[in-house]
């Protein structure tokens, strides 16, 4: 019940645009877009489906400030992500990590596509062979009322 209330609260927080601290933080546009990219890749753990860029939960505000601090301290993207996962676990990353347990996830789309095309090729070849052996099969149609 409390969780439902929390989820509804998150839905309510979502529409409220981030306060000014999710806006311009860096004068350098390259740094600013890096900042925006990093905060879009980190999950708000209170409003689970959102990034800390979009959530207005207090935790999200704090984490955005933390990212800015770390960036100003010269940390790289990997170091910032490591900082977050050390404290919050892998769940804080919106992109699944590339690790042995997620290889299937990353490879799957290409595998599915390749598999599908392979099946199609097999079927098409078989039907073409039938057509060559028996041209009448090309004109076959089911009984129609």
């Amino acid at each position: 019940m409390i969780r439902i209330a929390a989820l509804l609260a998150c839905l309510a927080l979502v529409p409220v645009a981030g306060a000014v601290d999710s806006g311009q933080r860096f004068e350098d546009p390259a740094e600013q877009s890096r900042y925006e990219r990093v905060i879009r890749d980190l999950r708000c753990l209170v409003c689970r489906s959102e990034s800390i860029a979009d959530s207005n939960a207090p935790l999200a505000k704090d984490l955005r400030r933390e990212v800015e601090t770390l960036m100003r301290a010269g940390r790289s993207d990997e170091e910032i992500y490591a900082f977050m996962t050390e404290r919050y676990g892998d769940f804080v990353l919106l992109q699944p990590p590339v690790a042995p347990r997620t290889w299937l996830l990353w490879a799957a789309p290409a595998l599915f596509l390749a598999g599908g095309i392979a099946v199609v090729l097999v079927v098409v070849r078989r039907r073409a062979r039938v057509a060559r052996a028996d041209p009448a099969a090309l004109d076959e149609e089911p009984d129609r009322p």
């Binding site: 753990l45 209170v46 207090p58 704090d62 050390e86 404290r87 676990g89």
Partner: protein, 179 residues
């Protein structure tokens, strides 16, 4: 009747899926384990809530188990768990430090004055910087640190005496000798 196996694949795949769902139903996807369990408690030294000149920190209880409770006067769940906290403090088994999060000093002190103070000391963390180091999402949360300074348990949400007895007490060392 011969049954080409490939036609059974959908049914088998579905059976595997159902198996996963059965397991999934018994688990709580919302329960995210803290990566800090078993690791040394992050060190901190913050101003005390009552007296800015006095410092309160993770080194205060070295050598014995202690509790860190994250709270704020703005937090509804903290009010809910307050009675349980007073009871736990009353048992006197383990000292409890409070971490006052995202709060106003005066309001927090008034809250403690009104409701009672279960804490041995309270650290003041208005910006949440230390809370981030402990992987805190919000309040209330309660951590148990062992005598070697490692975090052994994290509880998210209001704590009850029942949870204290079932999940925290078994982790404490048995008191030696007599009463």
């Amino acid at each position: 009747m011969k049954l080409p196996l490939r036609f059974l694949v959908p049914a088998l795949a579905f059976a595997v899926l159902v198996g996963f769902f059965v397991v999934g139903l018994s688990r709580d996807p919302g329960q995210i384990p803290s990566p800090l369990i078993g690791k040394p408690a992050p060190a901190f030294a913050l101003e005390s809530l009552g007296d800015p000149a006095w410092k309160v920190g993770s080194a205060d209880f070295s050598g014995r188990p202690w509790l860190l409770n994250i709270w704020g006067s703005w937090c509804v769940g903290c009010r809910q768990e307050h009675d349980a906290l007073m009871a736990i403090a009353g048992q006197g088994r383990v000292p409890m430090m409070g971490l006052n999060l995202w709060d106003d000093r005066a309001r927090a002190l008034r809250w403690l004055a009104d409701l009672g103070n279960p804490y041995v000391s309270v650290a003041f963390d208005p910006e949440g910087r230390t809370a981030i180091d402990w992987g805190v999402y919000g309040a209330p949360e309660t951590f148990l640190v062992d005598s070697a300074g490692r975090i052994v348990k994290k509880h998210i949400g209001p704590i009850t005496l029942d949870i204290w007895e079932r999940e925290f007490l078994p982790l404490l060392p048995v008191p030696e000798g007599g009463p």
